[in-house]
Subunit: 410 residues, 2 copies
Amino acid sequence: MVDIVMKFGGTSVADAARIRASAALVAAEAATGAAVAVVVSAMAGETDRLIALAEQLGGGLGEDESDVILSSGEQVSSALMALALKEKGLKAQSFQAWQSAIWVDGAPGSARISGFDTAAVEAAAKAGVIPVFAGFQGIDAAGRVRTLGRGGTDLSAVAIAAALGARCDIYTDVDGVYTTDPRIEPKAQRIDAISHDEMLELAAQGAKVLQTRSAEMAKASNVPLRVLSSFAEPGTAIGTRVEDESRIAERRIVSGVAYTRDQARIVLLGASDRPAVAAEIFGALADVDIGVDMIVQGRARDAGTVNIEFSVDRRELDRAMSVMETAHGDAREIIHETDLAKVSVVGLGLNRRADVARILFRALGAKGIDVKVIATSEIRISALIANDAVENAVRALHSAYGLDDRAGGG
Amino acid sequence: MVDIVMKFGGTSVADAARIRASAALVAAEAATGAAVAVVVSAMAGETDRLIALAEQLGGGLGEDESDVILSSGEQVSSALMALALKEKGLKAQSFQAWQSAIWVDGAPGSARISGFDTAAVEAAAKAGVIPVFAGFQGIDAAGRVRTLGRGGTDLSAVAIAAALGARCDIYTDVDGVYTTDPRIEPKAQRIDAISHDEMLELAAQGAKVLQTRSAEMAKASNVPLRVLSSFAEPGTAIGTRVEDESRIAERRIVSGVAYTRDQARIVLLGASDRPAVAAEIFGALADVDIGVDMIVQGRARDAGTVNIEFSVDRRELDRAMSVMETAHGDAREIIHETDLAKVSVVGLGLNRRADVARILFRALGAKGIDVKVIATSEIRISALIANDAVENAVRALHSAYGLDDRAGGG
């Protein structure tokens, strides 16, 4: 019943003029005969204003009543968008989570979508009414409002598209996914088409345009995405298609370069070489929800011992070091290093190229950038480097992997 | 399960400090062992801000989506109040209309409460959780949010108190119902106790402290009310009790003087003296929802004709004159007059006093105030006078009916 779910973020509904401009994009899509549904974020700045209000009375993120307060932001913008669509002569109706029946599990402020009863929405769409969903929210089994955490409206949009068997168009303030951050490398190119796997790796490695959770859900439910600018005139936006690998005609070796600043590294020197040691350490970190990345284990100086090192987000370093007080594998010494960053190259073709690591070492070495750790996956190669080398490293890798001069086409 | 429903208006939840102060009043009431529920308005100014937002996109009062937008104001304040109560160590939970199951009929912006499923709220109260209701809203049979119109949170509070068999305490920015407007007559006294009938007449005749619809509902469902200041320290507010006549020990003759500015008068000179004429004219006005007041019919100059006159709200004058184009009773001439006001004296004892009208005429005559029309009911006498004579008339009547020097007690 619905062909396209169109999602508009905060800057795309920031005020009456922006809401009208976004409504014009919906009207243009509807004029092609496509059945559309809309999902909106709160007006830009509104979520911050509301959480500040809650905080004045002791309600922070992750509190029941804070979620009631936060969800009002999307409630207002969904109704405003419905008004803007009516102004254009379209039929439209706002749907809050309790009306559209979007069910969630989990804690306030970080709930997960568990179900979506499409009956009410399909009835509306059948009657020619464009449903406008308040994103970022759901109702739990106890009948309480829960929000989905930052970027949650993307999740709402992907989940709704998955349930309705629709495509999901993410309208935002940039015109697509780029080969790297254009603020660092002006030669960055918009990517026309990218696979779900690559999008997920780019998001997970720091590309900001789509949240990792949304990219994961789109991949898991095989929802085709487009990332588009809501600032383009109706009918002119091209954007980036994110879809099943099989639908991408031209397979490029590398799709993009992503980066994450503020990483930290922990090294356990001379840990016991028992098989269970790594499981103990990383199990203890997982128990307190600390994400660990770039694990390296190697034989140490003394017989029967190993060195184990891994990286964590800088903000998790103190907690991770506390965990090491009990889960240390009898290490001789535990050291840590901060002011690190991770640069990653992502591409479906990386696993077919033998010289991928060599290109990376050469490109970074030529710039005098020291690689602390290197890690690879099927479609990614990452290097831990100094924080202040990020810009140089991104530019060097963008060039070395042939992204500088490539046409934008896919 | 609930003894007292405590209602807080916009100024009582205007910011974090005011919400905290109001929460302290709830905590003090709960500390006496009373089971309490809370009903809140939107933060002062919020409803105006939200309707202005809706208007920017063509949504005015009385529009489906405007109600979705407006109801977010009470959603936010109900959750903030729940946070403030939790801060004080109480258990509390916000309830939106879709959760507490407050059902309504009627148009957007002016719905009427038709039902209230108390199960969820009684379960909460039983568990020691203070329910905090978002006022001003309900859900219609189609599952859409509807607001109740200005002053709607009072209506919500009275309806909830009626359904729960509770008393309803209306916390506001004044400390009770006064014998008249203290801004006009500094000798105005707070009334300790007043009957539902008198409260209804005072509200209908212009006293602002309680909306007419709320006073009507309190009377119809026999809910005892108290009108109190939320600016008083916990435990110190006295306020005004509004209750069944039989419970009021001392019956005063007159309770108060109310006024309404901006009235207009329409006079049909020489209308046909057929019995059906008045029914035609007032039926036609009722058909378009124009409220008519102070009707006088008298024999006219020409035989077989009558003069019919009545007052309407100034804002309805143009519409009323249009109605007169077809429903005119063959009147020789139709004239109208504006810049009028109505002053009313309300009291349970008025019908027992023969000289009530004489006191009014004398008091106003002594001040040189011309009485255009006079009308009486069982417990009220009203006079139509010039707009600019309101202050003088209110003071004269307040004095003439012995309200100046009376002790506040009831």
